[in-house]
Amino acid sequence: MSAKIKKYAGHPLKSAEIREGKVPTARWRPKAKYMWSAGVAMSRFLNELKNGRIIATRCNKCGRIMVPPRVFCEQCFKPTDNWTYVKDTGTINTYSASFIAGDASRIKEPIIVAIIDLDGASPGMGIQHKIGEINWKEVKFDMKVKAVWKPPEERKGAITDIKYFKPV
């Protein structure tokens, strides 16, 4: 505010005034719809989730077993060499408890999210998922966890075919 002007006329805008159309605005809901091809690597990964298995790819050059699988090794920049299953168990690498839901509302029971290093995969390879059957305050580093799968008939070939990971 200029030093000469001590007070502006009027009042700060209220959201109600915008909602009621007292302030000119333009509204538009974009129709942005996509159907992404999952590709060679992710298609196999999703199909294996339906079978209750987690599949990885291996790079013979650096020896890494990579989850999610990919058809190229981003470190060596070469095609990956073979498919291999990893276990549906792992350890918690890091975690958080979200007290805010996807719609930004506050929730009482937090959603526990974690990065899980999967057994059988190389260090730094794993899955981000939810943690269940535990109070969030009990979650610890290096805690062993195991996938809780949906029943086979409910699986769709999606990351949500695993409901969450629970402590073992």
Partner: protein, 385 residues
């Protein structure tokens, strides 16, 4: 400042749909080809990476966060150019000219077949207050422009149809092209009216594909290849976004981009010093409008020259020997690199069945498509000059 050359090219080929591969897998293929062509290891030899794309085409917020892996760019300097690939090439050129980067990659990719609501995405690019609420398919903008262009220059719909016949036919000799076809003028003129005066065959159908180029400074380029393609000049600009204020009969953005590139390249007489051109032909009339804007012929002459066969592969000024966008397919943001790819292959003498005789200097030009008025030009040569 060191001169800059294209030392590697890689292309997946363009296809109407590619349901078997993800966009990352397509990009990996093009990058692998380009690095093999340039004989470089991206993890060691590339100093900076440029990705060209747009969130709404890819369907990701912040799409560029998803590109390093498949380009060999993890934890390396990455730039995003949210525009056509030819502007990415200009950016690579500038990066190398700073002296801070010797080898720079530029890529543009399209997985347009992943978009279910293409028309709505294009319409979302219109002014939300002044234009978009009126509705309709936004390609009517090309109809508006074509009407005025034909009116001002005396160009005919038949002459525009010649462009389609030529480019679709050229595409038959290009394994990278999605839409090679042997059409007649009648096929084009009798195809369904879309956005008057445009018929269906006057417009480029969508395509998936990726192109990766490797550029290098003079001293690195000479070590990597015997056939460097020198970037002698680049130019680009954007006109006002107010549709109502554009000069509808002319492609001013292309005129000014060409002026900038010609000045940099020391080109005084374009039709004499440039032996072939790859220009934007997203809609048939655009090739003609652009040829005039690039001063490769006089105003109102492009249609006549096309009719006479001057722009055919065996003509005096071959235009879009690659097949253009009409033949290769409309891959959003990849069009400029489609044009550069062909120019580079021709100058290297590696265009196979499409090879032109004794070409020294070529021009690549792009337009960013509806509803933009953004264009870029590059002058490419076998010699540094």
């Amino acid at each position: 400042m060191e001169d800059v050359a294209i030392v590697g090219v890689g292309c997946t080929g363009f296809r109407p749909i590619t349901p078997e591969f993800s966009y990352k897998e397509i990009m990996f293929e093009a990058a692998t080809r380009a690095y093999a062509d340039a004989n470089v290891n991206p993890r060691k030899d590339i100093d900076a990476f440029i990705t060209c794309g747009e969130d709404y085409w890819d369907g990701h917020s912040i799409f560029d966060e998803f590109v390093p892996d498949q380009l060999g760019a993890v934890l390396k300097p990455l730039f995003t150019v949210s525009a056509d690939g030819l502007i990415g090439l200009a950016t690579a050129y500038m990066l190398i000219r700073t002296g801070q980067f010797n080898t720079v990659m530029v890529e543009a990719h399209s997985k347009a077949s992943d978009i279910l609501t293409f028309t709505d995405i294009v319409a979302f690019g219109l002014d939300p207050i002044f234009n978009r609420p009126l509705g309709g398919h936004p390609y009517y903008i090309a109809g508006l422009e074509m009407t005025r262009f034909l009116h001002e220059t005396g160009t005919t719909k038949e002459q525009c149809a010649h462009v389609v016949v030529k480019n679709r036919k050229n595409a038959l000799a290009n394994a990278c092209a999605a839409y090679g076809a042997d059409l007649t003028l009648e096929d084009v003129l009798q195809s369904e009216p879309m956005f008057y005066p445009l018929n269906r065959l006057d417009t480029s159908p969508l395509a998936d594909g990726c192109i990766v180029l490797v550029l290098a400074s003079n001293h690195v380029a000479k070590k990597l290849t015997d056939t460097p393609v020198w970037v002698r000049g680049v130019g680009w600009n954007s006109d006002t976004s107010w549709l109502e204020s554009r000069e509808w009969g002319r492609a001013i953005y292309a005129e000014l981009a060409a002026n900038m590139a010609y000045k940099m390249a020391g080109i005084k007489n374009p039709p004499k010093e440039i032996q072939f051109a790859e220009v934007d032909d997203l809609f048939s009339y655009k090739e003609l409008q652009h040829l005039e804007a690039l001063k490769l012929c006089g105003r109102g002459e492009a249609g006549k020259l096309t009719e006479e066969g001057i722009t055919q592969r065996d003509g005096q000024m071959p235009v879009n020997v690659s097949g253009g966008a009409l033949g290769m397919g409309y891959a959003p943001e990849v069009l400029g690199l489609q044009r550069v790819l062909e120019a580079a292959l021709q100058l290297r003498g590696q265009a196979g069945r499409r090879q032109l005789c004794d070409v020294e200097t070529g021009l690549a030009q792009s337009w960013r498509g509806i509803p933009t008025a953004t264009g870029a030009v590059a002058v490419l040569s076998r010699e540094v000059k």
